[in-house]
Point group: C2
Chain length 112, copies 2
Amino acid sequence: MEQHRKAKLEEKGFRVGTAAEFLGLKPEEETYIEIRLEISGLVKSQRKKRGLTQQQLARAIGSSQSRVAKMEAGEPSTSLDLMIKTLLRLGISKKQIGNLLTGKLKPDLETA
Amino acid sequence: MEQHRKAKLEEKGFRVGTAAEFLGLKPEEETYIEIRLEISGLVKSQRKKRGLTQQQLARAIGSSQSRVAKMEAGEPSTSLDLMIKTLLRLGISKKQIGNLLTGKLKPDLETA
DNA sequence: TTTCGCAATATCAAATGTGACATATTTTAT
DNA sequence: ATAAAATATGTCACATTTGATATTGCGAAA
């Protein structure tokens, strides 16, 4: 169970301790991944909500379809910087990003 | 005035349009910089609050004093990823980071 | 089935971020 | 004032992120 989750993370390129259990992830490391996943999730739901394809969003931010896909998958090879820039381009405000992190974002905004 | 601000940003390495005025910065670009500066500001105030030197914080996050300085200065050569990891290492929670962005962070937390 | 539009995955060279280090500048204490 | 500690700034080799491109998978018509 936890084992499987660890495997998924490693597979995606995240460093998960030595031979240590997934539980070996420091709380801060877990939170960091959480933050990334929440933000990338919002990118995905907002794009869909606006009826854009990955290709269209890619053009809007001067990137490529494959990078958008990786971003939405929360792959570690994409930066928070790019995710934040993308959200802003999608019309999401700083305050809304804050609400996402505090868990107070209007639910319909997280939905496709 | 705005001219001077533009110069400061360019000087730090931020792309500020062609020959365009600082006002040429798209709102999203301005917000992106705002977000970075708010987060880097919190790194600085939190480090001081805990009575750590840049050197000590650097060791704690496996980095160097010079990078901490650059991070606190909000220089574009440092990533949001590193800033967030640093805040988490300083004990700041995801929720607190959210509150920073919504403008609802307890004032004493932003203070040195 | 086949075709079509979209998304996922892999690879790669170029661009950007990185820690380390050296050195300058500022701040603090005596 | 001046020495010491902390911070700022510049450079560089190395690592990671990037857009581009190609390819594959996948579901929805036809």
